[in-house]
């Protein structure tokens, strides 16, 4: 399906020039470092429901046994809520994997690009019942 769509996209050419307003409340490049990709497996300690962006706080256990506290920027609370995300969606203690990019200043803050549960379910969707593959990522969506 994905491959078909890419083919279709190429075929559509000019028709795909859809440009609708894209929101950029704040400039990613000023805050986060695209050359510092992070992949963190951690335990949720707090989901902070604040505007204009939620923050997910996690404890990450390093191989040497120490625990690092990370804060990851998430989507806007109103948008998350409208998508069915609520206070029970990321309960304290649940293990998640976050991929994203670290803050430019090197602190333990990041921008969350993808969030999955430890069993591979995606944050919003889950796989059970939807017929979606557990790993629904597109091959074109390569990471560094």
């Amino acid at each position: 399906m994905r491959i078909q769509l890419i083919g279709l996209s190429a075929a559509l050419g000019v028709l795909m020039t859809i440009a609708a307003p894209v929101a950029a409340h704040h400039a990613f490049a000023a805050e986060f470092d695209a050359n510092r990709p992070i992949k963190l497996k951690g335990t949720v300690t707090k989901m902070e429901w604040i505007n204009p962006h939620t923050w997910i706080h996690i404890d990450v256990k390093r191989p040497n046994g120490t625990v690092e506290r990370w804060a990851i920027e998430g989507g806007p609370p109103n948008a998350l809520f409208r998508r069915g995300f609520n206070r029970d969606s990321l309960p304290t203690g649940i293990e998640i994997v976050i991929e994203g990019f670290q803050a430019k200043d090197g602190s333990r803050k990041g921008n969350g690009r993808d969030v999955t549960f430890a069993d591979g379910r995606r944050l919003f969707l889950g796989s059970s019942g939807t017929g979606a593959p557990v790993d629904g990522r597109d091959p074109a969506d390569k990471r560094r």
Partner: protein, 350 residues
């Protein structure tokens, strides 16, 4: 908002933008009184006889703000092109709902993305319904070329703004743009943009129309009782309304000059010479044709008009608080990012 970016992007980029647009409604059933466009539909009216525009509205279409270069000379798409775009939109939406990511939902890879805004991680955003595909090739319908008629000086200001967005300098809280400062993304885009959804609630009472914009919690209480403009300058100007046939016409002047602030997009900044005329015409149960005409010799060489279809959301749609300063971590992050960049520059110059 990074509109200038939109007409610079490549074809591939535009594909992704499609998936990121704000066209996302709260989930819900279509509302309303009759079927859109059907002959049985009649203009709903308030108890006191004005056209009834009340409800929560949102821009849900996929139309470029300025006309893309590859559609130069064309103000409409063909039926076939619309059908193809619709098919693509439906497929991307189905892919999104079934958990696919990346190109399948029109998202670029991190390697391809310039990562200027949030476009690289659209998965957080409220995509809601598939966006409406219409024939219009740009929101700007006048000038006929569909492009902003900047003065030479404003074009320079726009280029300067584009060059510094995300790059800095970020020496103080004054350096981020007005949106990053939680102030506003500009009055001309209030009704139809918003990273967090662009939901707008219209409430009417005899003699007044009130619009509550979720984004930045802007609200406008617009008298429609024939009074003249006041003389107080404000960020959102001084708005007075009137009914012309079934259209609400809102005329706004007396904007503050905030041209010394950083604006992500120059066309949204208010100046003392800005004159904004908005026309709200309900053309079906779930659509308002929202037209803005912007006249401002400080920025534009002639007036321009955009025609923007906005969609009524389900009756039970609510809007929520947007307490932008509550946790605007962007500000400390931008400033500390600026310090980190400066340290790097110092180190490399040694």
């Amino acid at each position: 908002m990074r509109y200038r970016y939109l007409f610079l992007v490549s074809l591939a980029a535009a594909t992704t933008l499609a998936a990121l647009a704000s066209g996302c409604g709260a989930a819900g059933k279509p509302t309303a009184e009759g079927t859109p466009g059907s002959s049985s539909w009649t203009q709903p009216r308030t108890a006191w006889g004005d056209p009834d525009l009340q409800g929560v509205w949102r821009y849900e279409s996929a139309i470029a703000f300025e006309r893309p270069a590859d559609l130069k000379g064309r103000d409409l798409l063909t039926d076939e092109e619309v059908a193809q775009k619709e098919k693509q939109e439906q497929e991307q939406q189905a892919n999104r709902l079934s958990g696919l990511e990346g190109a399948a939902v029109g998202r670029r890879s991190i390697a391809e993305s310039p990562i200027r805004g949030n476009e690289y991680n659209s998965f957080w955003q409220d995509h809601g319904r598939p966006r409406r595909i219409v024939k219009q090739t740009s929101l700007i319908v006048d000038p006929p070329d569909g492009l902003l008629p900047y003065t030479p000086d404003a074009r320079k200001a726009e280029a300067r703004s584009a060059a510094r967005y995300g790059v800095g300098p970020y020496e103080s809280y004054l350096d981020p743009d007005t949106g990053e400062r939680c102030l506003t993304d500009g009055v001309t885009a209030l009704m139809w943009q918003g990273p967090n959804g662009g939901h707008n609630m219209i409430v009417q009472s005899p003699g007044y129309v009130t619009i509550l914009h979720e984004e930045y919690r802007d609200r406008r209480i617009i008298p429609v009782d024939g009074r003249p403009h006041g003389n107080i300058r404000q960020w959102l100007g001084d708005a007075v309304g009137r009914w012309e046939a079934d259209s609400l016409v809102v005329d706004t002047t007396n904007f503050l000059d905030r041209t010394n602030y950083e604006w992500a997009s120059i066309w949204t900044r208010p100046t003392e010479t800005l004159h904004l005329v908005e026309r709200f015409t309900r053309v079906s149960a779930d659509t308002i044709e929202y037209k803005i005409t912007v006249e401002d010799p400080a920025t534009f060489s002639r007036p321009w008009t955009a025609s923007i279809p906005i969609t009524r959301l389900a009756d039970d749609t609510r809007i929520y608080e947007y307490a932008c300063h509550e946790g605007n971590q962007a500000m400390p992050n931008l400033l500390s990012g600026g310090r980190a960049d400066a340290a790097k520059r110092r180190a490399s110059s040694k």
